[in-house]
Symmetry: C2
DNA sequence: CGATGTCTTGACGCTTCTCAACGATCGTGG
DNA sequence: CCACGATCGTTGAGAAGCGTCAAGACATCG
């Protein structure tokens, strides 16, 4: 929580350089890099790129909140929930470091979802107003923003494709692969090679709600994969033992000749 | 197909006024209204707001196509399909007049889906390049574009919420309600009052693929609603007889006291 | 050390999928 | 104009997957 010193306003230029040094995989890196371009406006507001800690269980925004910021998750993990008509809350997505949060408010300026920290986290926020003035001066930034927004839509479409006509085990396998992929962008060391370790930040229940399954079904799916030697499960720690088999499971093609009733007879 | 004369380039100003007259519910109306602002560039390219007919079954774009245009559906209906790894194509969405098509390419500039006309249709395309240059001169248009893009993300999130942990009948009811809502924006006369008529442009199979169900399940769901007196089904013509009951079904609260095993014993 | 939250495992029943046949509708051509 | 085929929609029976309920194992925290 104290790996990068907070430095709200005051010495903003120093703050920028500190931020940049820790901005490796940050989605908004180029906006921060552009910060000196609008340095004067930024200085006046003292908001640009401000770090904000978020304790586990804390909300970044809730439904109905006016969208003021575009957030990038810098550390930790978030989930976004949409309030259903019946009081239930649908789990629309997870966010890992480097990803944008809060795009659901683009359409009408108010958030429809709430974002909750799964673990202690911190975000960078750029005021939305700064962003639009930036794009006016620098059209290439506008195009880049379009790309980032498009990325958000694709994430939702991927979620849809995970849900449509896929069996429970496929969904769980796809989920693990997607988490692996998203963390890989951030943590380079635990690559796709066998033995990759995955530290899931969410509970089984959250996984289940995201996958449209009962939490027991998710648990069973993980157990079954472990029995097949594809993964090794220890709570939220998942070790990928057979990446190819995991992908095969996600594609729903059973590895032929791998009859697993060889358990004792 | 000939209700508005085509007029590519040449007399572009006349073309604009004609278009505007038929642009009532068009999502890009304000961009067309702005057209005179960039008249010179537009004239050079002769593309802005050009109408394009699309016969039933024809493709507007396919996966891998470079995104050149932002389309608005002006008449008819489209579906967008995403190619799955196994050859299957997931149905990601339907589009009715007034809605944007082709936003899936925002992220990387290439389409990932294909858009196919369900019935004879026509679209208006605005070259993407024109759009970005427009936003540079008019930041309020950029903000409006952000809104439209955000709308696309919300559509996908609605789709997710339709799929997560909802039973077959709920999904079908929600689907009917959403189609009703989307057409109501276009066709004012068939409002929410009982007796509203809905002319679905898609087959049962397409509905099923969108809803993540087997087509037989969709058919059975419609039949069951008809037996309950909620709707009247005649192929793709659906008449809404009891709007409240339809909404109750979508919310999964059974109308109490309405025991329908009174069929004979 | 007990309490609580989380995860796993088991048994049973229901929803939905699959397979299959039938019926309706529409367009085509004789 | 009617017969024909093709596409689309409906209906039925059986099976399988998954949800629900319930109990137990495990870890964490006060």
């Amino acid at each position: 929580m104290a790996d990068v010193p907070d430095n709200p306003a005051g010495d903003l230029r120093a703050d920028f350089s500190l931020l940049r040094r820790s901005c490796g995989p940050c989605t908004l890196k180029e906006f921060c890099d552009r910060a000196d371009v609008v340095y004067e406006q930024v200085r006046r507001r003292g908001l640009f790129g401000r770090r904000q800690p978020l304790a586990r269980g804390e909300r970044l925004f809730r439904p109905g909140d006016r969208q003021s910021m575009l957030y990038v998750l810098r550390g930790g993990a978030l989930k976004t929930l949409a309030p259903g008509a019946d009081g239930e809350e649908n789990l629309l997505g997870f966010h890992v470091p480097g990803e944008l949060v809060g795009l659901d408010a683009l359409a009408n300026g108010n958030h429809l979802c709430e974002a909750v920290a799964l673990v202690d986290s911190h975000v960078c926020g750029i005021p939305y107003s700064e962003l639009t003035s930036l794009t006016a001066d620098h059209p290439e930034i506008g195009r880049r923003l379009f790309q980032l927004f498009g990325r958000g839509t694709l994430d939702s479409q991927d979620h849809v494709q995970l849900l449509i006509r896929r069996q429970a085990d496929e969904r769980v396998a796809l989920f693990l692969l997607s988490m692996l992929h998203r963390y890989r962008k951030d943590i380079a060391e635990t690559g796709g090679q066998p033995g990759a370790q995955l530290a899931l930040p969410m509970s089984r229940e959250d996984m289940a709600r995201y996958l449209g399954l009962a939490l027991e079904t998710v648990s069973r799916g993980l157990t079954r994969m472990q029995e097949r030697g594809i993964i090794e499960v220890s709570g939220r720690q998942i070790r990928i033992l057979d990446h190819a088999a995991l992908e095969a499971l996600a594609r729903h093609d059973e590895p032929p000749g791998c009859d697993d009733q060889a358990r004792h007879g």
